[in-house]
Assembly symmetry: C2
């Protein structure tokens, strides 16, 4: 199922900050709308990003079971803070075979293991964009309570310090509240 | 890069046969056009299928190296026979984690190993459609010389007899010549 994230003047989420971490940034906007994709966004939108919920790409059945047992869904009433982090990885990343990418993703970078440490506080949903021909490869959406803000910063900092992030050539960090 | 396959009255390839292997079929057509995707096909087309060239999903670096060393490109002048085989897999397949799908794909079904046996005679290109919201998950395009027709039939028969194919719930087999 394809979703879109539109930055503009309306939307449930208030944009508090758009930080460019690597590569080109995104135009500023005041509010963010998240909705199932439709044909064409608002022509006045600052940005429109699309991504689709897809199958698991790296996690093993054991890891997926741990995630399922510990995670909570999006939309929890107390989770009034959110982040949308679009990233694009380099052609060197995408040229690697499955076992090479998995090795960097988990055995070197502990991507799933790190995320697990912050469950259920930080809920997360990954949207795939690369095969849609979008400007980013992934859009990751996070939701957490105001009291878990420091934990979320630690999660993001640990991933950015990982081997995997050496292949991230564009990253924008959008923080939101509702 | 996204491509589309349009069945209609025009196109470089003559459609010789459209066989429904599993699930719903496709409308008959005389010719097939293969081109980079554009906005909207011919409204009179019998069918329009889109897919995108993407990264490797299962092959290891070792397997990918074997494939690269042995395969030849599409468009060889002597390869005047082609097949377009769109398939859709079941929700049970897509609900599995990466290691479970890899296990069925290669360790049980020898998908890459079987394909390797028919290189370089049968050239092959995979297009991903599932994340585009298409009616099929994959479109596989094969090209071979008339003298390799029996080899191609053996390749297809071996894959259809595999454990992996128990998860294929829709499959159409379109044979072409030029």
């Amino acid at each position: 199922m394809r979703f879109e994230f539109e930055g503009g003047e309306d939307g449930e989420w208030r944009i508090e900050r758009i930080a460019t971490i690597a590569g080109a940034g995104l135009a500023p906007a005041e509010r963010l709308t998240v909705r199932p994709a439709r044909n064409g966004g608002d022509p006045r939108a600052a940005f429109l990003l699309q991504g689709t919920i897809s199958n698991i790409r790296y996690a093993t059945a054991f890891e997926a079971g741990l995630l399922r047992a510990r995670q909570e869904g999006l939309g929890r009433p107390h989770a009034t803070r959110a982040a949308l982090i679009p990233i694009r990885k380099s052609s060197a990343w995408w040229a690697m075979a499955q076992d090479e990418r998995r090795h960097i993703f988990e055995e070197c970078s502990h991507h799933t293991a790190i995320g697990l440490e912050y469950l259920p506080a930080v809920a997360r949903r990954l949207f795939h964009s690369r095969d849609l021909g979008e400007q980013f490869d992934f859009l990751t959406w996070f939701e957490y309570a105001p009291g878990d803000e420091a934990a979320f910063e630690a999660l993001v900092a640990r991933l950015r310090a990982s081997e995997e992030w050496r292949y991230v050539e564009r990253e924008v960090d959008i923080r939101l509240g509702r």
